[in-house]
């Protein structure tokens, strides 16, 4: 039986996002363009961003959030 290969991509971005645990972030083309403690603060920063696409937002899970069974 062929062994399942798992090669997690480790990038600086992943480490950076981990440092933003508990914060709202805006992402565009895989890059973090802004972050803030609340969604309202984040969106004030995002309004200054001029890009072709609307950035997508999410709340980065806190470090205490572990394995999910949702």
């Amino acid at each position: 039986m062929k062994k399942l290969e798992i090669s997690p991509r480790k990038s600086k971005r992943n480490i950076y996002l981990n440092r933003l645990a508990g914060e709202w972030v805006a992402l565009s083309n895989g890059k973090t363009i802004a972050h803030g403690g609340t969604l309202k603060k984040l969106m004030k920063k995002v309004k200054k961003f001029k890009g072709n696409q609307k950035p997508s937002v999410m709340l980065i899970p806190k470090k205490t959030e572990g394995n999910y069974i949702i």
């Binding site: 969604l39 969106m43 949702i70």
Partner: protein
């Protein structure tokens, strides 16, 4: 129209998150949401409703049963855009949501799209269900 999304990586875990645009009375917002085939309904963070101009407790009051227990949410019909398709999606907002992710559940999102989870390559494919 098909659209592919890469899983979101957190530590050693990968999550099938996609971008959906929610359109509210005051604003619109592109949000990352977790595709959850185990969830009967979509459940989003209350901050998003506030930003869109949706009054959270103005929706239909519903309790959602999870593994840990019940949480109270309010169901709304929200215009959503995905893959250039605009449709009304049933989304509940809850002040009691413990997880950071927004959850896209089956009703009614899964009716409109064919969803392929490619765990091996950590990608998710969304295409219209005609």
């Amino acid at each position: 129209m098909k659209r592919e999304f890469s899983y979101f990586k957190r530590g050693n875990q990968y999550f099938p998150l996609i971008d959906v645009e929610l359109i509210g009375p005051k604003a619109s917002l592109v949000v990352k949401a977790l595709i959850d085939s185990g969830a009967s309904c979509s459940l989003f963070r209350p901050e998003i409703a506030d930003y869109l101009g949706i009054l959270v407790n103005g929706g239909r009051r519903l309790y959602f049963q999870g593994i840990k227990g019940k949480i109270l949410g309010y169901l709304h019909q929200v215009p959503v855009r995905l893959n250039h398709r605009k449709f009304d999606c049933y989304i509940a907002f809850s002040n009691e949501l413990d997880v950071s992710f927004n959850i896209l559940g089956r009703n009614n999102f899964f009716l409109l799209f064919l969803i392929t989870f490619n765990e091996k390559y950590q990608k998710i494919l969304i295409e219209e269900n005609r």
